[in-house]
Symmetry: C2
Subunit: 207 residues, 2 copies
DNA sequence: ACCTGAACACCGTTCAAGT
DNA sequence: ACCTGAACACCGTTCAAGT
């Protein structure tokens, strides 16, 4: 029926923004939580085009998934930036904690994006270098706060890289375990719980 | 050719230990690192039987993967136990650190097992409760050391559960990021690197 | 009891068209 | 330029047999 709707909406032979429509159909499939796998054919079906039409916009299925991942990374970076915006005057530690909380919340609130972003290694063949750039930018947000905390004399002078990886690993690990329900947390308690888990690392970095 | 070999080895109509053969063929496929997906047909092909034969032993593909995961959890638990064995007289902190290092090393050295264990949620429908039991046992090993450290007055009296999740999240997150090469570490440096990442959490728990 | 074989409804991807 | 349709070599799973 999604197919029928899409077909009604356009009078022309051309779709208009097929590329975007395909990306969001892919997201819908995963977000709906059902057991439906993301397939090129199902995605095209939802958009209301022949499955071959997708090849105009994506070289193959992996390229479509890479587009989903790219959108996800951009959304994550935006979320992290927006998290910091109202905290301009807060101390670096609180800002770092807020980043960790926002990161985990993003994963839990966008499980479809997150799984594509961190599930398979899409850039295995170096086909999508943009993905590496975006990860680097997200990393940079975290690293910036850790450097600021160190500059303010609040954090020990460990190598920044290792400090970032400690925090990132913890946030990513918790998010992943929550997504596969190995750790069960009610959404309303997520932020507080994340703070509890982050507390030891942050305390440890302080020494 | 694997098929031919298997066919030669047995003279009888029956395979002997088909179930086990299937589980290990599945592992071989993922371990080989190639892009070959684990399919019931490919697994059966490697063992040298008709793909329908697998259904004698596994209700469906998910059940086969669950068997792989089960074996993985048992191996992980064994690894953790063996890690603690020579450290009976060490202090709880060192034992906990050793567990974290062993956990990450297990993931990196058994990527096939690890991905099946923590990738999809195989027990979604409650079909494989054994998997939950085994995760619980692995969790118990970690929890035991944290409780011991607390009892020895070395760790602050935080709730054990949250302390375990901090350490587990960090180890799991680091392992996952290393597996998808978001964090790149040479195998020879893995243990030392893991210790560096764990250091802040362990220090934080100490306060 | 254990394995096979044909059949069905799905895939991704290629090639050769249609508008 | 953009989309379609038939075809190919794959899937998982079901049903009806073979030894």
């Amino acid at each position: 029926m999604a197919a029928r709707k899409a077909r009604k909406r356009r009078k022309t032979y051309h779709h208009g923004d097929l590329r975007n429509a395909l990306v969001h159909a892919a997201l819908d499939i995963i977000s709906s939580g059902g057991p439906e796998p993301i397939t090129l054919r199902e995605v095209s079906r939802r958009v209301g085009v022949n499955h071959r039409a997708a090849y105009r916009h994506f070289e193959d299925l992996t390229a479509l998934l890479a587009a989903v991942a790219e959108e996800g990374y951009r959304a994550l970076i935006d979320t992290l930036d927006e998290t910091l915006a109202p905290l301009r005057r807060a101390n670096p530690e609180r800002r770092l904690e807020a980043l960790g909380v926002a990161y985990v919340a993003f994963a839990v609130d966008h499980p479809a994006h997150y799984r594509i972003m961190f599930g398979r290694r899409l850039n295995e063949d170096g086909r999508f270098p943009i993905l590496e750039d975006l990860v680097e930018r997200a990393y940079g947000v975290l690293a910036g706060e850790i450097r600021a905390a160190q500059a303010a004399g609040r954090f020990a002078e460990l190598p920044t890289r290792e400090a970032v990886f400690s925090v990132w690993s913890l946030a990513h690990g918790f998010a992943s375990l929550a997504l596969v329900r190995r750790i069960r947390v009610k959404r309303a308690l997520l932020e507080g719980y994340t703070r509890q888990l982050l507390a030891p690392v942050l305390a440890g970095l302080r020494t």
